[in-house]
């Protein structure tokens, strides 16, 4: 009897052991859910942020840098209870007792054991002073991160700004899958356009955390960690000295200067005025400064160089002349009298041939030219004839890169205004509009809107005698030094090169002895230019000037547009000429002219608007 009982007891022991082994086999080997749960528990992914690529100018000068800023963080649990010298600490970091209490309370609400930001973005100097004493205050730590720093406080529009990723962007996994909550990314300008290249690739560190979320060191000595790879540096086409000089000239003026190297399409300066300091939109006061800039009636955030659609005014006459010559409608000997019955004009030798018409910017002349282009008697009805002529004309004009995006390497470029036939059909009714409805365009008014960058591109076309490369900022990315082939491609206009010669001669005369102010011309550098005075419904005329220089082998093409500054030859032309001098000679000889232009203030229209 007892032998069987011994057996029963032993059986019970072994049976229990067996049950446990089966149970353990199930939870340790068969059921996979526990492994994932364990990783969820104890592993934390910590991003290792990549160093953002720097931006240089064409001469290798550093424009955009990264600056290390210091955040003071606090871990509430580690604060010295009772014994902390709160007053001393407040004096050290420069906050009041109320702020201190409030920040500590917020930190405690977030987490007692995790670090939360206490003071953000201290400069190196501030941080150095504080860190020295920080060990006297347990629970406070410093962490570093980088924000953009601008070596030259200019070119805000072209560089663009960075901002924190939005909720909506985060939800768009396809496009913004790389980003995480709280990440900063380039939003506008070069920062936005080259975001992918500049940002580099973030690395990930796996660290172990305990039940409180406290760091317990790298997971498996970091074998799964990936290190961050630095972003590519952008070598830009900009000449930062020229940019800076242009911004100086545009003080108290609204408008834009765009300068391009005609042979390459490389943008040398990209100014939109009024300017703002790019440093305002980085770091701790982004939100506050952004609001101020947004509310500013002079619209400093508006990138006029590629978004403002201005009437081109008389600079458009060069296109009309070239188109008419290509069509065989006019030649160098074609003369028209300055008949002011349709449009007004100013005093100049009369009648003009084509070269003189450019030199003196004769309005009636180009009304006649445009009429010749539009009405070529291709149809019996003048309405149908106008329609046919306009369609044909559009093709030529589009070949100058108008009415569409040029494709410059900045986000949010506009197309400008170049109306299709359908537009006039809609406004006047089909076959109910003729030349008299659209003649304003002959002198660059009416249903036309050009971006300053398009105007500068026109100057390039004139400089190159009929072709352009897409204006761009990218000169080299990273160490490869390869240039995007898109920017190497030559775009030709529909105008044969020989037709440009006459126009260029007219433009040279316009500067040396024409519509431009006499001070614009320099003996040392022959500038070819075309002035424009664009009428506007809002106040005084806009002042326009496009030019290139030197006449033979041009190195720079410029469009200058100054809002409400009156006659083109007296404001835009001297500013552009100073830019030419600055770029080609580096020093300005014409100090008086420079001072005069610096002193000009054309912001009254904006100020009055604000006052109203």
């Amino acid at each position: 009897m007892f032998d069987s009982r011994v057996a029963i007891v032993r059986f019970v022991f072994f049976f229990v052991g067996f049950v446990f082994l089966v149970r353990l086999f199930y939870i340790q080997i068969i059921d996979e859910t526990y492994k994932g749960a364990a990783d969820m528990n104890a592993l934390k992914k910590v991003p290792d942020n990549a160093y953002r690529g720097l931006i240089y100018d064409r001469k290798g000068r550093l424009i955009v840098n990264n600056q290390v800023v210091f955040d003071i963080t606090v871990i509430p649990r580690e604060l010295k209870k009772g014994g902390m010298d709160t007053i001393g600490f407040c004096n050290l970091v420069g906050i009041t007792m109320e702020e201190f209490r409030e920040k500590i309370r917020d930190a405690k609400i977030y987490s007692r054991v995790k670090a939360s930001a206490f003071i953000r973005q201290l400069s190196q100097e501030e941080a150095a002073r504080i860190i020295e004493h920080l060990n006297e205050y347990p629970g406070f730590y410093t962490t570093t991160r980088t924000v953009r720093a601008y070596e030259y406080p200019c070119m805000a529009h072209a560089i663009g700004y960075m901002g924190e990723i939005s909720r909506g962007q985060l939800d768009n996994k396809e496009k913004y899958g790389y980003y995480q909550m709280g990440d900063y990314l380039g939003i506008t300008g070069i920062e936005g356009q080259y975001e992918r290249q500049l940002r580099g690739r973030r690395g990930t560190k796996f660290i172990m955390v305990d039940v409180h979320g406290v760091d317990k060191g790298p997971f498996k000595n970091g074998i799964y960690d990936t290190s961050a790879s630095k972003g590519q540096d952008l070598y830009s086409t900009v000449d930062i000295m020229l940019q800076q000089y242009g911004e100086k000239l545009m003080v108290n003026k609204a408008g834009s200067i765009v300068a391009i190297e005609p042979s390459t399409g490389e943008i040398l300066a990209f100014i939109s005025a009024p300017i703002y300091d790019p440093g305002l939109l980085t770091g701790r006061n982004f939100g506050k400064n952004y609001k101020v800039l947004q509310k500013d009636s002079t619209k400093p955030l508006f990138n006029r160089a590629m978004m403002a659609m201005y009437p081109p005014g008389s600079i458009f006459k060069t296109l009309q002349a070239l188109t008419a010559m290509q069509m065989g409608l006019i030649d160098s000997n074609t003369t028209y009298p300055c008949n002011k019955s349709i449009v007004n004009c100013h005093a100049h030798p009369n009648p003009c041939n084509l070269r003189q018409a450019i030199q003196w910017s004769c309005n009636p002349y180009f009304v006649q030219v445009y009429r010749r282009i539009i009405n070529q008697n291709k149809a019996a009805s003048t309405f149908v004839d106008t329609r046919i002529g306009y369609e044909r004309w559009l093709e030529y004009i589009r070949s100058f890169g108008l009415g569409a995006k040029l494709g410059i390497d900045l986000p949010a470029e506009q197309k400008g205004i170049l109306k299709k036939v359908a537009y006039f059909d809609k406004v006047y009714g089909q076959n109910r509009w003729k030349f008299s409805n659209i003649y304003s365009m002959s002198i660059g008014q009416g249903e036309l809107g050009l971006l300053p960058v398009q105007m500068a591109n026109l100057a390039c076309i004139l400089a190159n005698k009929g072709w352009y490369k897409v204006p761009h900022f990218e000169r080299g990315l990273g160490d490869s030094g390869k240039v995007n082939p898109v920017f190497q491609e030559v775009h030709r206009t529909m105008i044969d090169p020989q037709h440009y010669t006459l126009i260029r001669q007219g433009m040279r005369l316009a500067v040396s002895n024409g519509t431009a102010w006499s001070k614009v011309d320099m003996k040392s550098i022959p500038i070819c230019g075309k002035t424009g005075t664009a009428q506007t419904s809002s106040g005084k005329d806009h002042s326009v000037f496009t030019c290139f220089a030197p006449m033979d082998n041009p190195k720079i093409a410029i469009a200058c547009f100054v809002e409400n500054a009156g006659f083109g030859g007296f404001t835009a032309a001297p500013i552009a000429s100073l830019m030419v001098e600055k770029y080609l000679n580096d020093t300005i000889q014409r100090k008086n002219l420079e001072k005069h232009m610096l002193d000009q203030d054309y912001m009254s229209a904006y100020r009055n608007k604000t006052a109203r």
Binding site: F2, R5, V6, I8, V9, R10, V12, F13, F14, V16, G17, V19, F20, L21, R23, L24, F25, I27, Q28, I29, D31, T33, Y34, K35, A37, A38, D39, N41, A42, L43, M208, V209, D210, V211, H212, K216, G217, F219, K220
Partner: protein
């Protein structure tokens, strides 16, 4: 007999396989305590008394001293002083109720300087000895009602005193002696009743009361029909059915009205671990995650993340098995369970080869205590039993348990070493 040859006799008579097994378990246990608390400091911290692993080493050292003491004490002492030891422990248990320190809701610690002891840990030893002493009386027959009441009293008295300390886990340990009594002739009816009661308890928790009651009635009717007409005892079956239904009703009342809220939730969590994931379910869930994440071969010694980083509560005491499961995987679990199975088998073997009833009964007492602790502790960590805080012998951190389990085992080995002399003594 000269002193020298007597020592020789003892060491020759010792059951070395058991001692080796004991040593292996203590070393493996200490390694796991170290792994559970080690968090990257330099290795000298292993021996620091600030850490559980360092203190456990101290307890192991104390155990060595106690082993020597047990070995050098005359083997007759345990037989002769069994009741006195029992009496002293009862007094200590009473004392703890009066002047004990309350730790984590249980008033079970008796302070001695900076260290404390838990008399409840030694009560098992004393009860095993007293039980052995009583049953070894040649006239005692466990089939008799009078003797049954006496052993019930011997076991029940310390059990009730421990229960009064609010230490439910340690109280339940006393039920393990039913194995001893079964081996010594207690009618199978008693353990059968106990198993039935536990089975009913579990069924009542799992199955709605009404369905269970209907099922039981169906079983009773089926049983009545199947039994030969002449042997049918309608009264017995009727009484049994009423009794069983009474238990079902009683369990419901017991769980909802008698048990304390934390005990209720521990039982409910067993049925549905998600019923209280951050409260009572936390322990069980985290324990299973730690063990389950170990996989087949484990994460490697000191590479566990769940136990080390405090996800598992009490990871070096009651939940030490989680560290084994996480860092050594199923292979490690197999090793640990295999070690316990070997130990239990070896102890029953030793018990069976004893020439005195005292030593045999005591041997089974030792086996029963180890078995019960092993079963409840592992059952708890793998989510089969409710959370009942009792240590895993030789593995869990803790001085009182380490010392009492060591003494428990080595008294048996001492008695075993002298089993030849015992016979002489009886003659």
């Amino acid at each position: 007999m000269p002193q020298n040859s007597r020592q020789e006799l003892v060491s020759r008579g010792l059951d070395w396989p058991t001692i080796m097994l004991y040593a292996a378990m203590v070393i493996f246990g200490w390694m796991n305590i170290h792994a559970a608390v080690y968090s990257g400091e330099d290795l000298s911290a292993m021996f620091s008394l600030d850490l559980n692993s360092g203190r456990q080493l101290l307890f192991v050292g104390l155990s060595m001293i106690l082993i020597v003491a047990v070995m050098t004490t005359d083997f007759k002492f345990y037989d002769d002083f069994a009741y006195i030891i029992y009496g002293v422990v009862i007094v200590l248990l009473l004392l703890v109720l009066v002047i004990g320190k309350e730790v984590a809701g249980s008033k079970s610690w008796l302070g001695v300087g900076s260290f404390g002891i838990q008399p409840a840990e030694f009560a098992k030893l004393a009860t095993a000895l007293a039980l052995a002493k009583y049953i070894s009386i040649p006239t005692v027959k466990l089939e008799r009602r009078m003797e049954q009441l006496t052993v019930a009293g011997l076991i029940g008295l310390p059990a009730i005193l421990v229960l009064l300390q609010n230490d439910t886990g340690s109280t339940l340990v006393f039920s393990c002696f039913i194995i001893v009594l079964f081996r010594e002739g207690l009618p199978g009816f008693y353990p059968g009743l106990g198993i039935t009661a536990v089975a009913l308890l579990v069924l009542t928790l799992l199955i709605p009361k009404l369905y269970l009651s209907i099922g039981l009635v169906v079983i009773a009717v089926a049983f009545t029909i199947l039994v030969d007409r002449r042997q049918r005892n309608y009264i017995a079956i009727g009484v049994a059915l009423v009794l069983v239904l009474g238990i079902v009703q009683g369990v419901d009342y017991f769980v909802n009205d008698v048990l304390q809220p934390h005990q209720q939730s521990r039982i409910k969590v067993l049925i549905d671990p998600n019923s209280d994931p951050l409260g009572a379910g936390w322990n069980v869930t985290q324990s299973k995650i730690a063990i389950g994440s170990g996989g087949f071969a484990g994460k490697g010694f000191m590479f566990g993340t769940q136990t080390k980083f405090d996800f598992v509560p009490a990871q070096s005491t009651d939940f030490i098995f989680c560290t084994v499961g996480e860092e050594w995987g199923w292979v490690g679990s197999l090793g640990l369970i295999g070690a316990f199975m070997t130990l239990l088998f070896r102890i029953t073997m030793i018990a069976e080869r004893q020439k005195t009833r005292f030593a045999r009964v005591y041997g089974y007492g030792v086996a029963s205590v180890f078995f019960f602790h092993f079963t409840i502790n592992l059952g708890m960590t793998v989510g089969l039993f409710p959370v009942i805080g009792i240590p895993l012998p030789f593995f869990s951190y803790g001085g009182s348990s380490m010392l009492s389990f060591t003494v428990l085992l080595f008294i048996l080995l001492k008695l075993d070493a002298h089993r030849g002399q015992m016979l002489q003594r009886i003659i």
